[in-house]
Symmetry: C2
């Protein structure tokens, strides 16, 4: 008979759960300090090692943030871990000969086309002005030959901020990040910056005009361009 000793085992499995419960129960907001490791050992009745493993896992999920010599804190609840996971999944798939990067691009395209149509004509003037400024900056950067990745990212982020849904914006940013991380790692086929600028300008104009079909078409063309570039890169190199 080995039926006894269940409560003692499975410690780590719900250590994570208990720490999460602690955060929820105490209504700890992002950035709030968590108990120190020794305190958690006492609170949860586990060894330092187990506590640390649980914290590491929670950190990987973005739920807590660990700062060496400082303390452990409730995480920013960002999607950084999702980006990590998505990026790795894509890289691994790519090296195994799958078209994972293309799938990631299609995911972005599908979501953004769906969103931009409902955005058309509903963006406040302030946001439109900000987007104008971003495209201007992009054109300047393109003329100077520099990279415009950051501005590109800012454009997309600002565009979907109008949806008034923080979660949505973050998910989109996560997709963007994952895609560009992988893209830079694998296929360094930078697109002509001037084309990118023109497409962004067209997206912005379409949204401003309130023509949702035109906006959708603009987004689709933008992604179509990227997609074409991607298809030319054979699956696995190395």
């Amino acid at each position: 008979m080995r039926t006894a000793g269940y409560a003692l085992a499975m410690a780590a499995r719900d250590l994570q759960e208990r720490i999460k419960k602690l955060i929820v129960d105490r209504r700890l907001p992002s950035g709030a300090p968590l108990p120190t490791e020794p305190e958690l050992m006492r609170l949860l009745g586990a060894s330092r090692n187990s506590v640390r493993e649980a914290l590491k896992a929670l950190q990987a999920m973005g739920i807590v943030e660990i700062r060496h010599g400082f303390g452990t804190y409730v995480g920013p609840m960002s999607f950084a871990p999702m980006i990590e996971g998505l990026a790795f999944r894509t890289v691994a798939g790519h090296y195994r000969g799958e078209d994972s990067l293309l799938q990631l691009l299609e995911l972005r395209e599908a979501v953004e086309t769906g969103l931009v149509s409902r955005l058309a004509g509903r963006l406040p003037e302030a946001d439109l002005a900000e987007l104008d400024a971003l495209v201007d900056r992009m054109e300047r950067e393109a003329a100077e030959g520099g990279g415009l990745a950051e501005t590109d990212r800012a454009f997309h982020a600002t565009l979907y901020r109008g949806l008034d849904n923080v979660l949505l914006g973050e998910v989109l940013e996560a997709f963007w990040d994952a895609f560009h991380r992988v893209r830079c790692d694998l296929a360094a086929t930078p697109q002509d910056p001037r084309v990118t600028c023109r497409q962004h300008r067209e997206i912005l104009d379409a949204v401003r005009s309130g023509d949702s079909l035109r906006a959708e078409r603009a987004i689709r063309e933008h992604f179509g361009n990227l997609r074409a570039r991607l298809s030319h890169t054979p699956t696995a190199a190395s």
Copy 2:
């Protein structure tokens, strides 16, 4: 001067990276066995504990899968960890008085409305038949008064399978899972099953007819119903 000793420190930080690199370099597919803990210690030149912490973090990201007494394997690259993180984020936000659950619902609505319109009229007959069967089953379950969560999930999963993008399907499923996990935990306000059935039938009919606007409207109504129910639930209970 404390400039020296960099290579030795930060061990754990890139232990994860090195394990990931190992997976990519060896082209290990999902399910492939990883080196055992002692082997990893030797390979990476780190202690058992550090190796384990790195593995725990990777497990939390879904990159590896650890089976007690059996071994460590390359993970299924599923979105289970994302679901976990999303669900926790939503629960925590909810208890802090945010409308995080509503935001999650809106995320699903935004994505699904965007997708269903491109799906309309492009689904093969086989998939349509399968969806018919699912709605039938749903109606049967509704009549018996049982829960139809699983069938609901299957409906959505089958619907978007037609997009021919595994990643997209998985992300949508992840959103569905996270939403329902939180919904069950917090607001147990089950919707009238017959209404759900009718709405699913309408979505299916709309997609079959190829009328993308109608399909979009059907999805929006489906979600609108859910949203109304959610708004009645005050933010934080206890």
